[in-house]
């Protein structure tokens, strides 16, 4: 079996199939075999790859390119995640050449970088090379401390959209005055510089602050912020703060807090599975629909400069009123508005934009929504209800002329009831609208029998956990 196989003379379809079947390190080795093999790979490789390049101080040698005798530039394909790892490349030009070569050869982007102090230039360089943000940035270097400017650069300029780990000591007296980038997982191992003002600007799913200097009062403020709709995507928050006075942390919240003793487990999609024992549950209950509508109403108030537009509260009891109304119709009702006993029923609303237009009265305060399916055509349709109001709109800066008992909500456009946690406006939840308008769970309903489809969010997984040391 010593006769050669003329790979590069293969029909294009065969070449593509072979190249797509090859492992990454083989592709790179093949690309070094000849210029033609390089251009063939570049032309035919289309299989999606999560291209990631890691630099670190470790030195496992896995594969070196043929002909590369003076300095090893090994590349390994991670057997688990399938990404590239490059080791022992201290020279900027060498690493740049390698990255450019591999990403160009395989038509891939860099999705993830893990870097150390020596390769911090990667942040700006990657930003300048690709418009798409990288997926993850992992800074793991506890041996050398970053300068204030470098630390700031990683925080501010690194465009990672999913995961950012900062495993290094922060410079002394470091302060950060800018808004945090939206990111799914933020893990800061030296979080003593993170203030409550920083925390309130974060938008993440998993936030971990080791060595935090947050006080009990700060944590209380953050909890209230979360209950009021702040940090809406948050599922796990960890702040290692040292001594904690739980009563101070739960100031004004104790009546809603439920003590639990049993062991709990939270599975993070990003890192670890913390187990929690003995703590307090505080569950945020809110209506996603109200949120969505409020978002639209806020924009509406801003666009038309309405000074007294109220935020809506989702009232589940009103769902029954819609059902009552639907029971009077045969099959699927035509799109219609029916006012009855102080409430407006909007039956068979076509889309979310109509929903916001219909609920644009400044004085209304509550609403509900259900999705039903009729047997005549099998289609889902949405019906909504709100209280009626004839309050005239007042022109002016949104939120500047709220009626008595109401105050401007934190987004500055709507008026909400004072001290009411239900009527808040949640930010950045526009995507949730899909779940409301086209609920994934649909219930088949015959003719005039209707059932409610869930529109309320009270997800038990969305609970803030503060990991508190054993002093509790």
């Amino acid at each position: 079996m010593t006769s050669p196989f003329h790979l590069l003379r293969m029909p294009s379809v065969a070449l593509k199939l072979i190249i797509d079947s090859m492992e990454l390190n083989s592709l790179i080795a093949l690309s070094f075999a000849s210029r033609k093999s390089h251009s063939v790979i570049k032309a035919h490789h289309r299989k999606p790859i999560n291209g990631r390049i890691h630099t670190s101080r470790d030195t496992p040698l896995v594969l070196s390119f043929s002909g590369h005798k003076k300095q090893e530039v090994p590349i390994k394909v991670d057997p688990v995640e399938g990404y590239l790892k490059a080791f022992k490349i201290d020279e900027v030009d060498g690493l740049r050449t390698l990255i450019v070569y591999v990403t160009s050869l395989l038509n891939i982007f860099m999705l993830e970088i893990s870097f150390c102090k020596q390769s911090i230039w990667l942040v700006d360089w990657v930003n300048s090379r690709q418009r798409a943000p990288i997926h993850s940035a992992l800074f793991v270097d506890r041996e050398e401390q970053l300068s204030e400017e470098q630390y700031l650069q990683v925080l501010r300029d690194c465009t990672a959209s999913v995961k950012k780990w900062l495993y290094t000591d922060a410079p002394p007296n470091f302060r950060y005055s800018e808004k945090f980038r939206k990111i799914d997982c933020l893990d800061i191992i030296d979080g003593k510089w993170v203030t409550i003002d920083n925390l309130l600007t974060m938008d993440g799913i998993d936030i971990c602050l080791e060595s935090s200097s947050l006080t009990n009062t700060d944590l209380n403020v953050f909890l209230k912020h979360w209950l009021a709709g702040g940090c809406p995507r948050l599922k796990f928050f960890l702040a290692r703060t040292g001594t904690v006075n739980i009563l101070e942390v739960l100031t004004d919240l104790l009546e809603d807090a439920v003590f639990f003793e049993q062991r709990r487990k939270y599975t993070s999609p990003f890192r670890f599975t913390p187990r929690l024992k003995r703590g307090y549950d505080i569950q945020r209950e809110d209506g996603v629909t109200a949120t969505m509508i409020n978002k639209g109403r806020g924009k509406f108030a801003e666009k038309h400069q309405l000074a007294n537009m109220n935020a809506l509260v989702y009232n589940k009891k009103l769902e029954l009123k819609i059902l009552e109304q639907l029971s009077l119709t045969e099959g699927c009702p035509q799109p219609s508005i029916i006012s009855h006993k102080g409430f407006d029923n909007y039956l068979n609303v076509k889309n979310d934009n109509s929903m916001i237009d219909l609920l644009s009265g400044v004085g209304i305060t509550s609403m509900a929504c259900i999705t039903t399916k009729c047997s005549e055509n099998g289609e889902d349709f949405v019906s909504i209800i709100s209280d009626s109001s004839d309050s005239p709109a007042i022109s002016g800066t949104p939120g500047s002329q709220c009626s008595d008992g109401r105050t401007v909500a934190f987004d500055g456009n709507l008026c909400k009831v004072k001290n009411n946690r239900d009527g808040y406006v949640r930010k950045n939840l526009w995507d949730d609208m899909v779940d409301i308008i086209i609920p994934k769970k649909t219930i088949y309903v015959k003719k005039t029998e209707y059932r409610v489809v869930h529109v309320k969010v009270s997800a038990p997984s969305i609970k803030p956990y503060i990991i508190i040391p054993s002093t509790i």
């Binding site: 010593t2 590069l8 075999a33 390089h38 043929s66 530039v73 395989l106």
Partner: protein, 190 residues
């Protein structure tokens, strides 16, 4: 995927004759030809699946009798396999093969090359994909130098990319006329 292979002898009603490039005739069961999209389309177009249609021998000018014999062996083995799914072709990275397949393809590289061309010509996707994956598996773990040997690639890189060490150049390369590539390629399109 294991299948039993009941013995069936072709009869004039359920077979066609194909003629290899060196003039040898092969009697092929119509059931077997279903695995070849080229033959299946031809049979359908000429209605050779009907008993009342006169079936002329099908000339296969690109395939030798040795290759045809090898292909029939493949078709016989996979006679009762489920229809090949196109999706499996592109995303299967498995380098694990049936023992029978490994033995079947334990042939010199030049024969493998010819068999791949024949599979491509007759459009037998399972065989075609299997050979491609076998070839990919044979490249796996090899250095560029070893790959050059296995694939008969004449190097055309004048100097090593990083060190500048000259690499043996063969001006009689069969790959003359290829496009130049840059060793510092531009960023990939976004």
């Amino acid at each position: 995927m294991s299948c039993e292979e009941p013995t069936t002898s072709p009869t004039p009603e359920n077979n066609i004759t194909v003629v290899s490039s060196d003039g040898k005739e092969f009697l092929l069961d119509l059931k077997l030809t279903e695995q070849s999209e080229t033959l299946a389309r031809l049979i359908s177009n000429f209605e050779y699946d009907r008993t009342d249609v006169k079936k002329d021998p099908v000339p296969l000018g690109n395939i030798t009798s040795a290759q045809m014999q090898k292909i029939i062996e493949w078709l016989q083995h996979h006679r009762y396999y489920p229809k090949w799914e196109q999706n499996d072709i592109h995303y299967s990275t498995s380098f694990t093969f049936e023992t029978w397949v490994e033995e079947y393809l334990n042939i010199p590289n030049n024969e493998m090359f010819e068999l791949l061309n024949a599979a491509n010509y007759l459009n037998i996707p399972r065989l075609f994909s299997t050979i491609c994956r076998i070839m990919a598996s044979r490249i796996t773990g090899k250095s560029a130098e070893q790959i050059r040997t296995v694939l008969n690639i004449k190097t055309d890189v004048k100097n090593d990319v990083y060190t500048g060490i000259p690499i043996q150049e063969d001006s009689s390369s069969s790959e003359d006329g290829m496009s130049e590539i840059s060793l510092s390629p531009s960023p990939p399109p976004i």
